[in-house]
């Protein structure tokens, strides 16, 4: 049936874009007014998205595609188009909702910053690009928005530009994700030349790879899929390109919530989902995705155990959860992946915003300097607690359902992947418990005066927490083992539901065990905190230093690039320019030789002339008489 609102979907990104344009052009000197414009724009987007989603839920509308010619050059004929499907509608809602809440939150969080309008304009641009990414009907436009969200992320990470760490983190984020982007770019180049009619839109992709598979050889398909996955790895902070995400926490906390937890980092997952037809055509690619996802999930979770920065713990948790999603994709369950993406967006945003409130209150991010905040910041503590539980996968909170869906799918494919998933769930629960107990319970370990002043944030900051907490509780019910509504809606009826009892039991057990262990260590103190660090100091050190990956990269890439650059600089100067100078010098040398000849002695001149005569005659005429 025809759609009414879907055709106005382009307005969804247009609102924040307009806000961005207005703020950039006229926003200098405005402060709160500008912020409100951006917030209202995101609200408008949210409202429209919601209407579209509801329309689609209610009427089960057809997909809508619209757009205009964007680039005509040679064989290239690309449109800037948008496509509204159930999947995109869902993403629209998630993105706009989180964006709106984060905007609202930021009104309070960033209230004292003099560059508030700049901040909001960046956020607006990000929202717009993210929505564009979601709506894009072809890979090219998706890539364009993909890069734009990257830039916004970069801008916002480096928002506090005076801090050298922020500068470094922004740079790192941009460059590391760019590595992934290159993969995506090459994948697009490949697709362009292999696809019939150079089509890059998702409908054609679906046609070629799903409906009439076999047009493109398997090896090329695998290559394309892997390259796309490289892009996703970069964006979604999967191993080995995860290094930028924890550093990205140098940005303002709302940004961490919006970009580095809920939306942008999930774009990698979204990309794989969007191009899943290609992955499905190649088992090797799927396996890779699953293995990388599983490894990342476990790997990041272990690091999360040993971090002391509240946001970094959450960041590694994000990496870990994204790993889950990849795992889900790798085992072929897009539903599980999208489901987890959906729930994760809410509870992770919640956690970050809660962390933001804490940081806002006591101006430190080190959990070792916190403690006992639960009594001073009740709303924060409660909502944060819900988030922790949701993330840990405690039923019936949303995280439980989505994680369970993933583990079930994994178990179906391979017990090993399942085992890794369960182990990760345990670690997740453990580090989240550690985080919660260290921050909100016990005694204050930091500055007493600060502690005394700590209180809940203003309403603009609290309301988002409450809304998100509510969502963290309920959003899981869209897809339970009992009703596969989300899956059937997303993929138009091909719902295939299964729930493994083993999976449910194992994951709940692991979560509870983790939380219990955390309680024992960090709240009750039954187990000494240095129980591990005193026995296995190297292990703790290894985890604290994040397996020395950063150091390794520094050595492998940064140093070697610098070394190569220095070497080439010498080469450029000595060899390339040297050759030029040599040529110049040769002429000058000839000139000097001539100057030496000009000694003022006419007889010398004559002598040279005579010798030249002899040589000339012998060389030219002489050869005829030889």
């Amino acid at each position: 049936m025809a759609t009414v609102f879907s055709q106005y979907a382009w307005l969804v990104p247009a609102f924040p874009l307009a806000a961005f344009a207005i703020l950039t052009a006229f926003g200098r000197g405005w402060s709160r007014a500008g912020a409100w414009i951006a917030t209202l724009a995101s609200l408008a987007s949210f409202a429209l998205s919601l209407i579209i989603a509801i329309e689609r839920i209610v009427s089960n509308a057809e997909d809508y595609v619209g757009g205009f010619d964007w680039l005509r050059a040679g064989a290239v004929n690309l449109t800037a188009g948008y496509e509204v499907t159930n999947l995109t509608a869902l993403m629209l809602v998630v993105v706009t909702l989180v964006a709106f809440l984060v905007n609202l939150y930021s009104l309070g969080y960033m209230g004292e910053d003099e560059r508030m309008t700049v901040f909001f304009s960046y956020v607006a641009l990000f929202t717009s690009s993210m929505l564009g990414l979601v709506l894009a009907d072809n890979l090219m436009i998706l890539y364009v928005c993909w890069e734009l969200v990257g830039v916004c992320s970069f801008l916002l990470i480096g928002f506090w530009y005076r801090k050298p760490e922020a500068r470094a983190a922004a740079k790192k984020a941009f460059i590391v994700t760019r590595v992934g982007d290159l993969g995506l770019l090459i994948a697009i180049l490949l697709l362009f030349w292999y696809m019939p009619d150079h089509a890059l839109d998702f409908a054609s992709l679906h046609n070629v790879f799903h409906t009439q598979s076999g047009i493109i050889s398997t090896s090329i398909t695998t290559l394309i899929a892997l390259l796309i996955f490289v892009g996703a790895v970069g964006k979604s902070g999967q191993f080995p390109l995860h290094v930028w995400l924890p550093d990205a926490m140098e940005g303002p906390t709302p940004i961490s919530a919006l970009i580095h937890a809920a939306t942008m980092v999930a774009a990698g997952v979204f990309l794989v989902v969007r191009t899943f037809d290609i992955f499905q055509a190649s088992q090797a690619a799927l396996d890779t995705v699953a293995i990388v996802g599983a490894f990342t999930a476990l790997f990041a979770a272990t690091i999360g155990l040993a971090q002391n920065d509240i946001k970094r713990v959450l960041a590694y948790s994000t990496v870990s959860q994204l790993g889950y999603m990849m795992l889900a994709l790798g085992v072929g369950s897009t539903t599980a992946a999208m489901f987890h993406l959906f729930t994760h967006a809410f509870f992770k945003a919640l956690l970050f915003l809660g962390a933001g409130s804490v940081i806002h209150a006591i101006h430190t991010q080190d959990i070792r300097e916190m403690g006992g905040l639960g009594s001073r910041m009740k709303a924060t503590a409660w909502t944060f607690g819900i988030g922790v539980l949701a993330l840990s996968g405690i039923p019936p909170l949303s995280g439980f359902w989505s994680k369970d869906a993933i583990l079930s799918a994994a178990l179906e494919k391979s017990p090993w992947l399942f085992a890794v998933g369960v182990l990760t769930a345990f670690f997740t629960a453990l580090y989240m418990a550690r985080l919660f107990f260290l921050v909100f319970t016990g005694k204050a370990r930091g500055d007493a005066a600060t502690y005394a002043r700590a209180k809940d944030a203003p309403w603009t900051m609290t309301i988002p927490l409450i809304v998100l907490a509510a969502l963290a509780v309920v959003s899981g019910f869209v897809q339970t083992p009992m009703s596969g509504w989300l899956g059937s809606w997303l993929w138009s009826g091909e719902a295939k539901e299964h729930a493994e009892g083993v999976a449910i039991v194992a994951s709940v057990a692991a979560s509870l065990l983790g939380i219990y262990l955390g309680w024992l260590i960090y709240a009750k103190g039954t187990i000494r905190r240095d129980a591990v660090s005193s026995r296995l100091p190297w292990l703790v050190k290894l985890l604290e230093r994040k397996y020395y990956i950063d150091e390794l990269y520094e050595l492998l890439f940064v140093r070697s690039l610098r070394g190569l650059g220095k070497a080439l600089a010498v080469f450029d100067d000595v060899v390339v320019d040297g050759a030029v100078k040599l040529a110049g010098g040769a002429v000058a040398g000839l000139g000097r030789l001539n100057t030496r000849l000009q000694n003022g002695q006419v007889q010398t001149y004559g002598l040279v002339a005579v010798i030249a005569t002899v040589v000339l005659v012998l060389a030219i005429a002489g050869r005829r008489f030889w």
């Binding site: 007889q603 010398t604 002598l607 005579v610 010798i611 005569t613 002899v614 005659v617 012998l618 008489f625």
Partner: protein, 174 residues
């Protein structure tokens, strides 16, 4: 290649004698130490050449040679020598490098010339020169070579004016 199969005629003897004189004069001119001696030995060469011209049946040329070279040029040079101060050649440091290279260069040049001369097989000419050499030359000068002749007159005038202008002492010299 040096097959000197020469007809020993009278002309050859005259040539030989005069050639030796000319070469000796020239060589001596290069080797003397006193400038006047050099000039005089060169004059000797010029005279020898005049003799050769006679042998070559160019009496008028020989006459002019004596007149111009021995009579004018050499005297001019000796005037020049008189008007300037001279140290003898040998008293100064030699320039061995220059001299060696010059000698090599000249020898090579001579070698080339000699090779070229030797490689040419000259046929005996069949047309004799006119008997009345001087008259014929005179006629030529006034007919075919009238224009060069006139030009030479301009040239001599210019050389005369130029030489005087250059050599004369400036009266307003400080």
């Amino acid at each position: 290649m040096l097959n000197f199969n020469i007809d020993f005629t009278g002309e050859f003897f005259a040539f030989f004698l005069l050639a030796v004189c000319a070469i000796v004069g020239a060589v001596l001119a290069v080797n003397f130490t006193k400038v006047v001696h050099m000039a005089l030995s060169l004059a000797f060469t010029f005279v020898s050449l005049a003799g050769l011209y006679v042998v070559l049946q160019a009496e008028f040329v020989a006459f002019v040679q004596v007149l111009l070279y021995v009579g004018a040029v050499t005297i001019l040079m000796i005037f020049g020598i008189m008007m300037t101060k001279h140290q003898s050649e040998g008293q100064e440091r030699g320039r061995p490098l220059l001299e060696t290279l010059a000698a090599i260069g000249c020898l090579c040049l001579f070698g080339i010339l000699f090779y070229a001369i030797r490689s040419a097989g000259f046929a005996k000419p069949d047309v004799p020169l006119p008997d009345n050499n001087t008259l014929s030359i005179g006629k030529l000068l006034y007919s075919t070579y009238a224009i060069p002749f006139e030009l030479v007159s301009v040239l001599l005038t210019v050389a005369f004016i130029g030489a005087v202008a250059l050599a004369k002492r400036e009266e307003d010299q400080p």
